[in-house]
């Protein structure tokens, strides 16, 4: 990977013609496979030829007329054609064999030829398959490589899912074709030619008939196929639009829900599918019509042979043997001809598809591959300043985002810009970060154009945090370290791989023109982070998370994670120990009021009745919820034994009555419904008639459905929360008894569904916090949840578990696009990783606008402190420069220099004090 690496191939626009593309990349392979096919021909023909010989000679006895006659086996001679003299050179005399050994010899020869022939086929097919797959890999790689180099502005017009559909699905059929691209026509053409020559040789006239029919086929079918090709293209485009549209539906799902436009979307989808359907249907009709015509023409030839040939035979001008020979030879003709036609059809079809795809990827202004060149060197820190001269940036409609901006931005300066949204400040920052292209004016770094900087310099010496942060799915730690992965720095450790790599991994990557950089190597640039290796990452990461005030969030995430004891065995064991200690500490102390721990012998008043009965957690995704418990026969039996069924039924009536009284006249979206924990607004509507019937007939006579519906309600009831005084001591006792009975004879299938609370076992279906707590946080105590969390944190810290827990928080899966985290947290992550990068200039374009103003101001100050004094307090980092487009202008007074933007222009600039005396906007916005 030297710097002189050749990027001409990467920079060349994609070939518009698939065959040319394939030929350029697989010339030698195609030649080789052609050679192998030719080499396989003799065996192939011998396999066809031998049976005739076996039947004729040893079996029927031709040449074995006399007893003791022999035949030559494996004789090998070459006869020159007559015009070269017609001599015969005997190369090998062969063995003289009698009839029976001769039969055996020929049969075994046949068997071995069959094997050789099969091996040839096997080799050819795998070779072609590999060839196709390599090409497929190359194309996918090249296409995505181009996406990585598209100009940023191009992405406004591109739908991600359409690109994905092109790279993945539309290319797929190419793989099969590529192996056959050149071999097939040669091979089939050869076959057809041989059969053809044979026919012509037998009878010129009959040969001419065959020629005529083929000529008709060759002209008619491409003509008919024109429409098929158009349809094929339409099919491809509509399918691509469909995947784009489905991607849009997924992305805009919230606005579909809040606007009740789902039916509009359905109609749109249906109309799209209808279009696709009719295109495909017409395609089928035409395809099969062509097939029909093809078959018909193929059968027309023998018909003509019978009629015309038969006529000549009867007249005596053609001998019968010849006619049979021609008809036999013709049997071999249609399949190669059809094969050729099929090949041609596939070729044109795929060529059109290919052209369609290439068109989308040969975008104007694709960045030169050199800009993203691999650079293993350490990039020296930047110094000096960025000069902005008469900068004008316009958007794609031509409206001006910023104009006539003229200023110097020192790389290590502490600069901010203020101005309302659209004032031009943000556009300036984006232009400096290289996200927007100046339409005129100059951006230079110490005199050299900024845009000429390779990404290896820009991407490592600058950091950028914008407001729309998209984080790819992964762990929190991955997304933090992402910005430091420029080149593989340390070779991979095979011990870290889940499964060993294929030994040919690198060779194949080379054969398909993929990058040889090792994904599994350690890419993290520890040096840039100011640390010496992986073991220091944790401390560093924790430090920046503290800086952006996210450390306690990460800790909370960890407490809410579910851990599998198989992956975190040691940790889970420790947590069990801590659980036990916490329990002894809680017992009898005032903390006891905050938590009610699980106790096999006690009813937990802060948990639902269902939880009290189950005394455990559901292990399946579909919860063992109240609904299923009521319907579960075993549970019903246990309840009946304790006469709890009647009690629950009566409680249910009471709950239904209260709920109806309080909630019946509220709309389902009323905030009060959040407090109704045992019923949903939809269920509420069903209860009045149920309640009426139940009142009339009582527990014994009411129908099963009503009974079930009413028994359902108390399962979600929590005495301490709902405060309806429905649970007296006797009921609690009976629930306890039922709990014990329930667990005593738990059927096997239910055993798997429930993970019981046991003091000595880690419950993988509960969060870390619940596992440590092993109980329920009390209702009705002020801030109980917060107090308990603080207590647990304190306790874990005391036990030296702080780092372990934090580590789990870093393993949190942030979801697609980081959507499991709030936007404010995503912005904090982006800021944190900009700090991790060790950049010279950090550009922040309203990067924290999802946070409230006070938090923003606080973070600005914290980052400023870090920027100015990184070298203090034993930190081995260099101070860095800032260019911050502030969403909170109030923070401007803490910066060394302030740029004031307004109406797409740079209005003023100076120190905060200067601006305070002369700039009106500054005076107004900065308090």
């Amino acid at each position: 990977m030297s710097e002189s690496e050749d990027y001409t191939e990467a920079n060349r626009p994609l070939d518009r013609n698939l065959l040319r593309y394939v030929w350029r990349h697989t010339r030698s392979e195609q030649m080789w496979i052609m050679f192998v096919i030719l080499a396989s021909m003799p065996t192939y023909f011998m396999v066809l030829d031998l049976p005739v010989r076996i039947i004729n000679q040893p079996i029927q006895g031709v040449g074995f007329d006399q007893v003791g006659a022999t035949a030559k086996f494996l004789d090998f001679s070459i006869s020159l054609p007559d015009f070269l003299g017609g001599q015969t050179y005997v190369l090998f005399e062969g063995f003289e064999l009698e009839r029976w050994p001769y039969l055996l010899a020929l049969s075994f020869l046949f068997l071995s030829l069959v094997c050789v022939n099969g091996l040839f086929k096997f080799y050819i097919n795998t070779y072609k398959g590999r060839l196709g797959e390599r090409m497929l890999r190359r194309m996918r790689y090249q296409l995505t490589d181009r996406v990585l180099r598209f100009p940023i502005s191009h992405f406004k017009r591109v739908k991600g899912s359409e690109v994905a559909s092109m790279v993945k699905d539309e290319i797929e059929p190419f793989g099969e074709f590529i192996g056959d691209a050149f071999v097939q026509p040669v091979y089939l053409g050869g076959q057809a030619l041989v059969a053809f020559v044979f026919i012509l040789n037998q009878s010129l006239w009959l040969g001419m008939i065959a020629v005529a029919i083929i000529a008709v086929q060759m002209t008619l079918i491409p003509y008919l196929r024109r429409r098929v090709l158009v349809l094929g293209r339409m099919r491809q485009l509509t399918a691509r639009l469909l995947s784009g549209r489905i991607g849009e539906i997924v992305d805009s799902i919230t606005s579909i829900h809040v606007n009740d436009t789902s039916n509009f979307e359905r109609a749109e989808l249906s109309s799209r599918l209808s279009k696709i359907f009719f295109i495909r249907y017409e395609l089928y009709q035409r395809k099969f019509f062509i097939k029909f015509l093809n078959n018909f023409l193929a059968q027309l030839t023998p018909f003509l042979f019978y009629v015309v040939g038969g006529y000549f035979a009867i007249r005596g001008t053609l001998n019968v043997g010849q006619l049979i020979g021609v008809i036999n030879a013709y049997k071999d003709l249609p399949s190669p001809i059809n094969g050729l036609i099929m090949w041609d059809q596939k070729r044109t079809d795929i060529n059109i598809k290919y052209a369609q795809i290439v068109e989308q990827f040969n975008v104007k202004d694709v960045a030169d591959a050199q800009v993203q060149a691999v650079n293993m060197e350490k990039i020296a820190p930047l110094e000096g300043s960025i000069q902005v001269n008469n900068l004008v940036v316009t958007d794609d409609t031509g409206s001006i985002l910023v104009q006539d901006a003229d200023f110097d931005l020192p790389i290590n300066g502490i600069t901010c810009a203020i101005g309302s949204l659209g004032s031009g400040a943000g556009a300036t920052a984006d232009a400096i970060a290289g996200l927007l292209k100046p339409s005129s004016g100059r951006l230079t770094l110490n005199g050299d154009p900024l845009n000429d900087l390779p990404q290896s310099v820009r991407g490592r010496r600058f950091a950028y945090a914008g407001s729309d942060a998209y984080l790819p799915q992964g762990t929190l730690l991955d997304s933090l370290l992402y910005v430091n992965k420029h080149v593989p720095l340390r070779p991979r450790d095979d011990a870290n791989l889940d499964e060993p790599l294929h030994p040919r991994t690198e060779l194949e990557a080379m054969a398909a023109g993929n990058t040889l950089l090792d994904y599994y190597a350690d890419w993290i640039d520890y040096d840039a982070m100011g640390i010496s290796g992986p073991e220091e990452v944790f401390g560093k990461v924790r430090d920046v998370l503290q800086l952006v005030e996210m450390d306690s969030t990460v800790y909370d995430l960890a407490l809410r994670q579910m851990l599998s004891p198989t992956d975190y065995g040691g940790l889970c064991d420790k947590l069990i120990e801590i659980r036990k200690e916490l329990r002894t500490r809680i017992e009898g102390s005032p903390l006891g009021e905050l938590v009610e721990v699980w106790d096999w012998e006690e009813f937990n008043e802060h948990a639902t009745i269902a939880e009290n009965l189950l005394f455990g957690t559901a292990t399946t995704d579909e919860d063992v919820d109240a609904q299923q418990l009521v319907e579960n026969e075993y549970m019903r039996k246990v309840l009946a034994e304790e006469k709890l069924d009647v009690t629950l039924f009566e409680m249910g009536m009471e709950l239904a009555e209260t709920a109806i009284e309080l909630f019946a006249d509220l709309s389902p979206d009323n905030p009060f419904f959040e407090q109704l924990n045992f019923m949903t607004p939809e269920q509420l509507e069903a209860y009045p008639p149920i309640l009426a019937r139940a009142k009339e007939s009582g527990f014994d006579n009411v129908n099963e459905h009503d009974r079930r519906m009413l028994m359902l309600l108390p399962f979600g009831y929590i005495e301490k929360r709902n405060r309806l005084r429905l649970l007296d001591e006797s009921i609690q006792k009976r629930v306890l008894a039922a709990r014990k009975k329930f667990h005593a004879n738990l059927p096997d299938d239910m055993q798997e569904q429930i993970s019981t609370y046991e003091l000595n076992t880690y419950n993988p279906y509960n969060s870390v916090q619940d596992n440590v707590l092993f109980g329920r946080v009390a209702y009705g105590v002020s801030n109980a949840a917060d107090q308990v969390r603080d207590l647990i944190k304190e306790f874990l810290a005391e036990k030296g578990m702080d780092d372990d827990i934090f580590q789990i928080g870093l393993e949190f899966d942030i979801g697609t696009g980081g959507k499991r985290l709030s936007e404010a947290l995503r912005q904090r992550i982006v800021l944190a990783r900009a700090m991790l990068k060790g950049a010279d200039l950090v550009v922040i374009n309203r990067g924290l606008n999802a946070l409230d103003a006070r938090a923003q101001e606080r973070l600005v100050l914290r980052v400023l402190e870090r920027a100015r004094a990184s070298s203090e307090a034993g930190r081995n980092e260099r101070p860095f420069g800032l260019f911050w487009i502030l969403a909170t202008p109030n923070s401007a007074k803490a910066f060394d220099r302030v740029l004031v933007f307004g109406k797409q222009r740079l209005v003023d600039s100076g120190t905060p004090n200067e601006l305070m005396t002369r700039n009106e906007y500054y005076q107004q916005t900065v308090a």
Binding site: L662, P671, N722
Partner: protein, 160 residues
């Protein structure tokens, strides 16, 4: 019949809420949290974001105000049973204007912001009652202010 009735009675004894129909009071009681504080516990701090108002069921609490970030807190009022506190901040979406601290074990009913706002939308009498209460407080504050000003003026005069 159940504990809610006790809380409903309590709610009814608050002047502001006394005109609400009883099923609404019951709903409010059902949806609110019964929260207990020990002496010294803080219900909320000045400057916090407001998400709930409180009705004191039993016990006493102090209202404390500080004039600046580092200025000491001074006690401006005391709350006894049946007092309604924290309503201003949730009505106007402003940070808490004072801190409230339990001076002895305190039993309260915590009413969430969106619940109270929803009830106000439905019941103009409630809205009016709250308005009246706030105006009375304003009148008292204005009165206190003018008295305080007079005192300051007197002090200044006597100093000269």
């Amino acid at each position: 019949m159940n504990k809610l009735n006790e809380e409903v009675d309590l709610l009814r004894s608050i002047p502001m809420l006394s005109n609400l129909p009883s099923n609404k009071l019951k709903l409010l009681a059902f949806a609110s949290d019964r929260v207990e504080y020990s002496a010294g516990d803080v219900l909320f701090n000045q400057g916090d974001e407001a998400d709930a108002a409180y009705i004191v069921i039993s016990g006493n609490a102090d209202v404390l105000v500080s004039s600046g970030a580092d200025a000491p807190f001074s006690k401006v009022a005391e709350l006894g049973p049946n007092s309604f506190v924290g309503d201003m901040a949730i009505l106007c979406d402003i940070p808490r204007t004072a801190s409230v601290k339990a001076s002895e074990p305190l039993d309260t009913l915590r009413i969430r912001k969106d619940h109270l706002l929803d009830l106000m939308k439905e019941s103009p009498t409630l809205a009016l009652a709250i308005l009246r209460e706030l105006v009375q407080r304003l009148a008292k504050t204005t009165h206190d202010l003018s008295e305080a000003r007079e005192e300051i003026a007197d002090l200044k005069a006597s100093n000269q």
